[in-house]
């Protein structure tokens, strides 16, 4: 059981499934005893042994903790040593990568550092595409692992995961393309950091003026990223056009039909799916099957019909 209070105290859970014996992570590991405080389990310079991991498993410990400040060491360790390790189930690797990336990504956004955000998104996108493309991870394997609360990182991470799965099912491209899709999806809401939090989290209907601020986020995100050499046009269109609708009722441009890029259409379908299946402060999550019906009702009108058909077929396999 992962303790939310420990996370709020500055500790990050790491799954023991991602820890290898005799490998240095370069950060201290802590263990929780009897649902109370943490104790130092292993100093960073002393690698775990097989026996340590066996004892932890026997004691039912499936998570240790690291300090938030050490998250970058763990993220590097994951990227270098764990992501391609097929003996660890892909959903577990994905979950670990996402958890640790959350810290770095939020720090980059809060520190107003888009360069760092793009760098992290590229790493995460590559890792995610590798797992989903190479090991044919299915939606039903990862859906329960994803968190379904509507916080910005959770949302963009879910959208990215869904985008890669949908793109793979549509045969959009190879692993390299899927990696670019994942990165674009992680960045699709980057313009939202210019929207005040009280407007984003408002329980009541936004005023006209607030709507105008919200509607500016695709444009401001695009303008922030469009001069970068490490992003490609389809990724930029995921940022700029993910709220456009096929009938021209979306924003920011009211673009329609063929003027909406294929990757933006892809992002639009799963963006709405995640937004509705996540809980919000003012409403319960909508069941996935109901969201599928909503997408189907608006297929061809707002959303790309082929993409909706493909996505809802995936979702309907969920138990």
């Amino acid at each position: 059981m992962i303790s939310a209070s420990l996370q709020s105290q500055g500790y990050l859970p790491v799954a023991t499934a991602t820890l290898f014996p005799a490998t240095e992570i370069n950060c201290d590991l802590f263990v929780q005893h009897n649902n109370h405080n943490l104790e130092l389990y292993r100093h960073g310079s002393y690698p775990l042994t097989k026996e340590d991991l066996r004892r932890l498993a026997m004691a039912g410990v499936d998570h240790l903790y690291i300090r938030y400040a050490d998250a970058e060491f763990y993220r590097k360790y994951l990227c270098e040593q764990v992501l391609n390790e097929t003996t660890i189930p892909a959903p577990a690797r994905m979950s670990a990568l996402r958890e640790v990336t959350r810290v770095a990504f939020q720090e980059a956004l809060e520190g107003n550092d888009p360069n760092r955000a793009v760098e992290i998104a590229t790493d995460l996108g590559r890792g995610m595409a590798t797992m989903i493309a190479d090991q044919a991870v299915k939606l039903e394997e990862v859906y329960d692992l994803l968190e379904h609360d509507y916080y910005t990182f959770t949302h963009v991470c879910n959208v990215s995961t869904y985008c890669v799965i949908l793109a793979r099912e549509l045969g959009l491209g190879d692993k390299g393309v899927l990696s670019q899709v994942a990165t674009g999806a992680l960045l699709h809401d980057i313009g939202k950091r210019h929207v005040p939090k009280d407007v984003l989290n408002k329980k009541d209907k936004p005023t006209d003026e607030e709507w105008q601020i919200i509607r500016n986020h695709p444009g401001s995100g695009y303008q922030e990223l469009c001069h970068r050499a490490d992003l490609i046009w389809p990724q930029l269109m995921m940022v700029y056009q993910h709220h456009e609708r096929l009938d021209g009722s979306g924003y920011p441009c009211r673009a329609a039909d063929g003027d909406i890029h294929q990757w933006a259409r892809l992002c639009a379908v799963v963006d709405v799916f995640d937004a509705l299946t996540c809980s919000r402060p003012y409403r319960e999550p909508v069941p996935a099957r109901e969201v599928c019906n909503y997408l189907k009702d608006n297929a061809g009108k707002w959303f790309d019909a082929e993409m909706v058909t493909c996505w809802t077929a995936q979702v309907e396999r969920l138990r």
Binding site: Q223, I232, W233, C253, R254, D259
Partner: protein, 128 residues
């Protein structure tokens, strides 16, 4: 609208250049919060639309080739024009207005009005 409630239309004579027109249009800030008043300005102008930022010229149809555009209104700071293709924030457009002077515009926003018809708000860029 003017303070008297009369529509503000451009009183532009055939001999008046845009320089003269803009110089005369030095109005106080308008009621909608704009720095400069807009004036109706309907003309067909020559333009070269450059590829949007983040895009290469070869991918955008017609990018970099001369075309015709319709203008809707003008102010000291910018121009509203109609184009048959979607334009993107930050995209550059070189135009020649009826005075024959080349000017460079930067797209600030773009809205689709109908099939193959986009309205774009652009600002004049300083030329060096």
């Amino acid at each position: 609208m003017s303070s008297t409630g009369q529509p503000l239309t451009a009183d532009i004579s055939a001999t008046q250049t845009e320089h003269e027109f803009c110089a005369q249009a030095d109005q106080p800030p308008s009621a909608d919060g704009r720095l400069f008043q807009r004036h109706i300005f309907r003309a067909c102008i020559s333009a070269i639309v450059h590829a949007p930022p983040g895009q290469t010229a070869t991918i955008v149809t017609g990018a970099g080739t001369p075309c015709q555009m319709l203008t809707r209104d003008i102010s000291r700071s910018g121009l509203n024009l109609l184009h048959k293709q979607q334009l993107y924030p930050g995209q550059k457009i070189d135009v020649v207005l009826t005075d024959g002077q080349p000017r460079r515009l930067e797209v600030i926003w773009c809205r689709r009005l109908g099939v193959g018809c986009y309205s774009a708000g652009c600002r004049f860029m300083k030329t060096t």
